[in-house]
């Protein structure tokens, strides 16, 4: 039993406030627990901003690939250390194919507000932070130039070169379709493709000096003379890559990165060799290349060795011409 003078009240107090000020339940209904405008309370404000930050952090923790919409959802568990992240490597290797993916990502980046348009080389971990101020026109950007130059000799970048498969010294780039005469085609948009020559063509042609698209044919001027190669592709518009046009030697360095032209609504008059079948096809082509021999011998087969650019381009005139006809289905243009 209790004392009759003792009044029993239900009280509340603010969990956050340092002093536990008791407030009778009857008052609480009327005035609210903190007797004031809680939005103005410093403790409340601090708490509120902390939540905000936490939410921002959650947003930030999304994997870069998810942010770009390339994969639908993924939270980064590697603290954005993409260079050593297996998922990142998977995304940029093998069957996914680096270039197509990066291009796709770049398309997404273009649609973001200016301060979020990060340089494509941030995605690949080559540089830590840079906003692209060049509208993703990497082909005339010094950042791009710098990275490409570094890739030439720096051991840390050489690793990436392995993204190209090598068959007996001839590189094969993923995600592209190929034509039987060694052109490649890469889809870069809904109705757009890029066209280039493959590494075998590049090796065979030697130093490229100029090129031009002429009515479903591609004229390439090399150290050996002019060669006409049928493209068997037509389209609504053929836009030549001005950078490779100005510096055609880039094609010899990396024929897959240095495309020749962009074609809108392409139409093909030949069957393309899809990427899945490209390796098998290139192996056969290289076998055929190995069989090339002096006329007296007929078909000869050999064991060992690699093809190299210097060798193919240095063939004597007659054999070189035979190879251009056989492999590029082309002819000399006098």
């Amino acid at each position: 039993m209790s004392c009759p003078f003792l009044e029993e009240v239900v009280v509340r107090y603010c969990n956050a406030y340092p002093v536990k000020k008791l407030i009778p339940a009857s008052d609480y209904e009327r005035t609210g627990i903190c007797h004031g405008n809680f939005q103005e309370c410093p403790i409340y404000k601090e708490w509120q901003s902390a939540i905000g930050e936490r939410e921002d952090k959650m947003e930030e923790k999304l994997c870069i690939w998810a942010k770009l919409g390339v994969v639908s959802y993924r939270v980064c568990t590697q603290n954005y250390n993409c260079a050593s992240c297996e998922f990142d490597q998977m995304m940029r290797s093998g069957r996914y194919g680096e270039s197509a993916l990066i291009l796709q990502a770049m398309e997404k980046l273009k649609s973001l507000p200016a301060d979020q348009r990060v340089c494509r080389y941030m995605l690949s971990g080559d540089i830590s932070y840079k906003i692209c101020s060049n509208n993703y026109e990497c082909w005339h950007c010094e950042v791009d130039q710098m990275i490409q130059d570094r890739m030439e000799y720096h051991p840390a970048y050489r690793r990436r070169k392995r993204l190209y498969q090598q068959i007996k010294g001839i590189r094969l780039a993923p995600a592209r379709a190929y034509t039987a005469n060694h052109l490649w085609i890469l889809k870069t948009g809904k109705d757009k493709v890029r066209v280039g020559i493959d590494d075998l063509a590049q090796s065979l042609l030697g130093s490229i000096r100029n090129f031009e698209f002429q009515n479903r044919r591609l004229m390439i001027e090399t150290e050996k003379g002019k060669v006409m190669i049928p493209t068997n592709i037509s389209g609504d518009r053929i836009e030549v890559n001005q950078v490779t046009k100005d510096q055609p030697e880039k094609i010899n360095r990396d024929p897959y990165w240095n495309w020749l032209a962009e074609i809108r609504n392409p139409r093909y008059e030949v069957n393309l060799i899809e990427w899945e079948k490209a390796e098998e096809w290139l192996k056969k082509e290289l076998e055929a290349l190995e069989e090339f021999s002096r006329d007296e011998i007929g078909v000869a087969v050999s064991d060992g060795g690699k093809f190299s650019k210097s060798l193919l381009a240095q063939l004597d005139r007659q054999s070189w011409h035979r190879m251009v006809v056989r492999f590029l289905k082309g002819g000399e243009d006098n």
Binding site: R294, I297, V301, D303, G304, G305, F307, L311, D316
Partner: protein, 178 residues
């Protein structure tokens, strides 16, 4: 099928005699020692410091007289116009082939010389080239002697034997079984 082996004179004769008895035992063919190859100068490519395999094949073809087949054994670095080097080269289903010991020798890879291993590799390459002369193309089976070897490791991996498919092909073309 008779196959004449024509070594260059700089290859040790003891190496060759051991080779011939072994080859007869492990291959469907019978090997005999032919006259040595006198001179390779005509096939030398000064720009590359190597010897043109096709040049040597042409030379062997010019000196062939009866109906047999010939495999030249040489000890200098071989290449073709498009390949940086070759271990050997043969006319497909033809009459002449050539094998070089140059890159079969451990010393080329700066490893301790191993004469036994050299003979083993040489035997594989001779049988391989003989297979080409018998009309066989390269085989996808990694263990088959007709597998194409891009490097010395591939040669060491494969065996002396033909896989059943290759062996069958040879039998159908009148090569006797081993």
């Amino acid at each position: 099928m008779e196959i004449l082996l024509r070594p260059v004179s700089t290859l040790a004769p003891s190496l060759i005699s051991d080779l011939i008895s072994d080859l007869d035992a492990i291959s469907p063919w019978s090997f005999t020692l032919g006259p040595p190859i006198q001179n390779l100068n005509h096939a030398y490519l000064p720009d590359r410091g190597q010897f043109d395999a096709d040049g040597i094949l042409v030379h062997l073809l010019n000196e062939i007289n009866d109906q047999g087949k010939v495999i030249g054994l040489i000890d200098v670095d071989l290449c073709t116009p498009v390949l940086s080097f070759v271990f050997g080269r043969a006319q497909l289903g033809g009459r002449v082939a050539v094998v070089s010991t140059f890159r079969l020798d451990n010393r080329f890879y700066r490893l301790k010389p191993d004469p036994g291993l050299l003979i083993e590799r040489l035997k594989k390459e001779i049988i391989h080239e003989a297979g080409h002369l018998g009309g066989l193309y390269h085989c996808r089976n990694r263990w088959c002697v007709m597998n194409a070897s891009a490097s010395i490791v591939n040669i060491d991996l494969k065996g002396f034997k033909f896989c059943p498919a290759c062996l069958n092909y040879l039998k159908e073309r009148g090569n006797n079984g081993p």
